[in-house]
Amino acid sequence: MSEPTKQATNAGPAAGAAGTEPEPLLRVTDLAKHFPITKGILKRRVGAVQAVDGLSFDVRPGETLGVVGESGCGKSTMGRLVTRLLEPTGGKVEFEGRDITHLSAGRMRPMRRDVQMIFQDPFGSLNPRHTVGGIVATPFRLQGVTPDGGVKKEVQRLLELVGLNPEHYNRYPHEFSGGQRQRIGIARALALKPKLVVADEPVSALDVSIQAQVVNLLDDLQDELGLTYVIIAHDLSVIRHVSDRIAVMYLGKIVELADRDALYSSPMHPYTKALLSAVPVPDPKRRGAKSERILLKGDVPSPISPPSGCRFHTRCWKATDVCATKEPPLLEIAPGHRTACHHPENAPDQQPQDTEKVLVTPGKPAPVPAQKKGGDEGTQEQKPAK
C-alpha cells in the first residue's frame, strides 16, 4: 500500500485533474445521517435532524481532504460516519473498495487498524486515570497486536515520533499541556500504522504558536508515513494550509469540492465566497478593503427542517425562484471543481433563463423554525456523539 501512497503524495493535487485517477482509498456515496427526535415515553418519532444529507466524495491515497463549514453543518457527523463511529442512515461508505456502511462492531474491528481518528478536545479524549504509555498502548491491546521489540519500546518510539519525551511514559495526561496532549492523541492514532486518519478540529483548542507546531507535525508525519488525512476544521486559513482538496459544507450538504488553489482563488459557490470574505486578515492595511466583504444575514437555518431547494437560498444574495424549488446537484463545472449552485460565481450560469430574484429580507432571513425546538442548533452536531 505504501507504494501508490508515496506516488500520490509526490504528484500532489495535480494528479486528480488528469484522467489518471488512482483508486480512491475512501469512497462515500449519498451518505446520510438523520438523528431522530423523539417525544414522550413511547419515544414517538416526531422529526429528524438531518445532520448529513447526501454526501458524495472520494479520498485519494496520500492526499489531504479538508472539510470546512460552520458549526452545525454536519462536518463532525461526517467524520464519525466515515470512521463508522456512527451508523449511517443511508448511502454507502467504501474503504479500499470494501463496503463498510453497515458492518457490525465486531466485523468493523479489524478495519479500525486502517482508519483512525484524532479528536478536537485534548482534555476530553484522554482517560485521566491512564498513563500516557497505557493510552498509546491501548490500540495494540485492543487489536491483539504485538509490535516488533515489544509494546513499551514501540510506544516510546511513537512518543518520540510526535515530539514528546519517551521518558514521560509513566506520566498522566494532566501533567501535559494542551499541545502535548494533542500529540499524545496523535501518537495513539498512529500506533497501528493506519492508512486513513480523520482529524476532527485537531488544532482549534490550541494556542496559536502550539497550533502551528501541531500543523507542522501532521505535515511531517504525512510525508514520513504516507498517511491520508481527512481534516475537519472551521478555520479557513488552517484548512488552506493543510489540504490538497477541500470540501465546503453547509447544512449537511457539500456545496463545493475543489482543489485548494482553485477553491481559494476562484470560489464558485456564493457561500464559499462569503465564507472566504469573512476571514479576518492579519494586515491592518487591508482594513480599508472591507467593502469586498460579503456579510451574510442571519443565522444558519435549522437542520430539522432545512429550506427547500438549495439550502443556502434563504441567505444567498443571488437566489432566484429556481433556488427555492429545485435542489442544485453537485456538478463538475470546471475540471476538478464541483459545486452545487444554480448561479455559480466565476462560471457560466446554470439556470440562465431564471433571473427573478427571491427577496431576501435583511434582518429576517430564514424561516425560523429552529427557535420553537429550543434553538440549540449549535449543539446538535455534538449531541449524537455517543
Binding site: 462569503a274 469573512a278 492579519p282 443565522d299
Partner: protein, 377 residues
C-alpha cells in the same frame, strides 16, 4: 506635555498620535500618569495583579501600562495565560477575591479606580465601562429572559420605570440586529443562537451608553461569518457612540481588523506596543515574530511550512528569569553576557510610539526581521 497633539486624537494621524505616547512614556510613570489621566480616557500605569495560591504567587499581570483615547480601539493580544483577561477584569474591578493583590494605577476619565470606593466602582461599572465576555451562554443568566436581564442592567443605573426600561431594551436589541426584538425580548438565552446571544450581550453592555467597552474574546466562540457580523457591529456602535474599545483576543486577524493600537502580552508583561501598522509591519519582538509565523495567512501565497515558536508558554508561578521569553527565543544568545537570562528587559522605544521589551539592539532586530523573518512569512 504635548497638549496640542491631543486635539488630533480623532483624526487618524498616526505620527501625531505616536509622538504623543512617546512624550508620555519618556516622562515616566507615577506623576505623569496622573497628569495624563484627565486627557486619556483610560490610563493604566504599571498595573500588577498577583494571586496568592497554595503553589505560590502567580504574577498574572506584572507591570502593564497603556493609554486609550475615546473613539480608539486597543487590541490586547497574547496566548492563554498571558494575562490579557486578568488585565481586563482588573480594569472592571472584578477581582474581588482576597487572594488578588492589585497595585498600580487605573485612571478612567480622570478617576482613579484602584483603591476607589467599592460602591463607586460599582456605579461606574455598567455605566461608564462595560464588558462583553467570550462565552455568552455562561455570561447570561439561564433563568431570566434576555429582556429582563437587559432591563435590570438599565434600571440599576437609571431611575426608569419598567415600561421605559423595556422600551429601551427593545430598542437596544433592535440596534444590535436581533430580528423581531419585541418578541425576542421574552426569550430565554437558550432560545438564542450563539451569534444572537453575543448580540444580546452587546445590547446589555451598551444599554447605558458606556464610554469604555471591554470585549474579551467576543468572537472566539463564533463562526467566521457571524464573527464578521459581530466585529462590524462593534465597529459601527463605536463610531456611533464614540466609545473607547479594548479588544482582547488571541487572533491576530481579528485585531488587525479592528484595532488602532496593539499591545502584545507574554507571561503577564507587555512585550510590544504600538499602532497596528507598526506592530504588523515592523514587529520588534521575537515573540511577535513567532505569533505572525504561526499563522497560516489566507491573504498571502501558500507557504510550505509555518514557523512556530518552539516550546510552550511558561507557568506563571515560575516565570523564567530575565526575559520571560528567553527559553523559547531563537535569538536569546544574540545579546552579550547572558543578559537575557539575568536581566528583565525594559520596554524601550524603537520608533515613535513603538515600544518593545527586548535586549537585542534595534539594528540587530531590524536585521533579523528583514533578512530572516519577513521573507518566510
Amino acid at each position: 506635555m504635548s497638549d496640542d497633539t491631543h486635539k488630533d486624537a480623532a483624526t487618524k494621524d498616526a505620527s501625531a498620535a505616536a509622538k504623543d505616547t512617546a512624550a508620555k512614556d519618556s516622562a515616566g510613570k507615577g506623576a505623569a500618569g496622573k497628569a495624563e489621566g484627565a486627557r486619556e480616557f483610560l490610563s493604566v500605569r504599571d498595573l500588577r495583579i498577583h494571586f496568592d495560591t497554595d503553589d505560590g504567587l502567580v504574577k498574572s499581570v506584572d507591570g502593564v501600562s497603556f493609554d486609550l483615547k475615546a473613539g480608539q480601539t486597543l487590541g490586547i493580544v497574547g496566548e492563554s495565560g498571558s494575562g490579557k483577561s486578568v488585565t481586563s477584569l482588573g480594569i472592571m474591578g472584578l477581582h474581588t477575591s482576597d487572594r488578588a493583590r492589585i497595585s498600580g494605577e487605573i485612571w478612567l476619565d480622570g478617576e482613579e479606580l484602584i483603591g476607589a470606593d467599592k460602591q463607586r466602582v460599582r456605579e461606574l461599572r455598567g455605566q461608564k465601562m462595560a464588558m462583553i465576555f467570550q462565552d455568552p451562554l455562561s455570561a447570561l443568566h439561564p433563568y431570566y429572559t434576555v429582556g429582563a436581564q437587559i432591563v435590570e442592567a438599565y434600571r440599576v443605573h437609571n431611575k426608569a420605570d419598567k415600561k421605559t426600561a423595556r422600551k429601551r431594551a427593545v430598542e437596544m436589541l433592535d440596534r444590535v440586529g436581533i430580528p423581531e426584538p419585541a418578541r425576542r425580548f421574552n426569550d430565554f438565552p437558550h432560545q438564542f443562537s450563539g451569534g444572537m446571544r453575543q448580540r444580546a450581550m452587546i445590547a446589555m453592555a451598551l444599554v447605558n451608553n458606556p464610554q469604555l467597552l471591554i470585549a474579551d474574546e467576543p468572537t472566539t466562540a463564533l463562526d467566521v461569518t457571524v464573527q464578521a457580523q459581530i466585529l462590524d457591529l462593534i465597529r459601527d456602535l463605536q463610531k456611533e457612540f464614540g466609545s473607547a474599545v479594548v479588544m482582547i483576543t488571541h487572533d491576530l486577524g481579528v485585531v488587525a481588523e479592528i484595532a488602532d493600537r496593539l499591545l502584545v502580552m507574554y507571561a503577564g508583561r507587555c512585550i510590544e506596543r504600538g499602532t497596528s501598522e507598526q506592530v504588523f509591519e515592523h514587529p520588534q519582538h521575537p515573540y511577535t515574530w513567532g505569533l505572525l509565523g504561526s499563522m497560516p495567512r489566507i491573504d498571502r501565497e501558500q507557504t510550505d511550512r509555518l514557523v512556530p515558536v518552539k516550546g510552550a508558554p511558561p507557568s506563571l508561578i515560575n516565570v523564567p528569569s530575565g526575559c520571560a521569553f528567553h527559553p523559547r527565543c531563537p535569538y536569546a544568545d544574540v545579546p552579550p553576557d547572558n543578559v537575557t537570562r539575568t536581566e528583565r528587559p525594559e520596554l524601550r522605544e524603537t520608533t515613535g510610539g513603538h515600544f518593545s521589551a527586548c535586549h537585542m539592539t534595534r539594528e540587530q532586530r531590524e536585521k533579523i526581521w528583514t533578512e530572516e523573518i519577513a521573507p518566510k512569512l
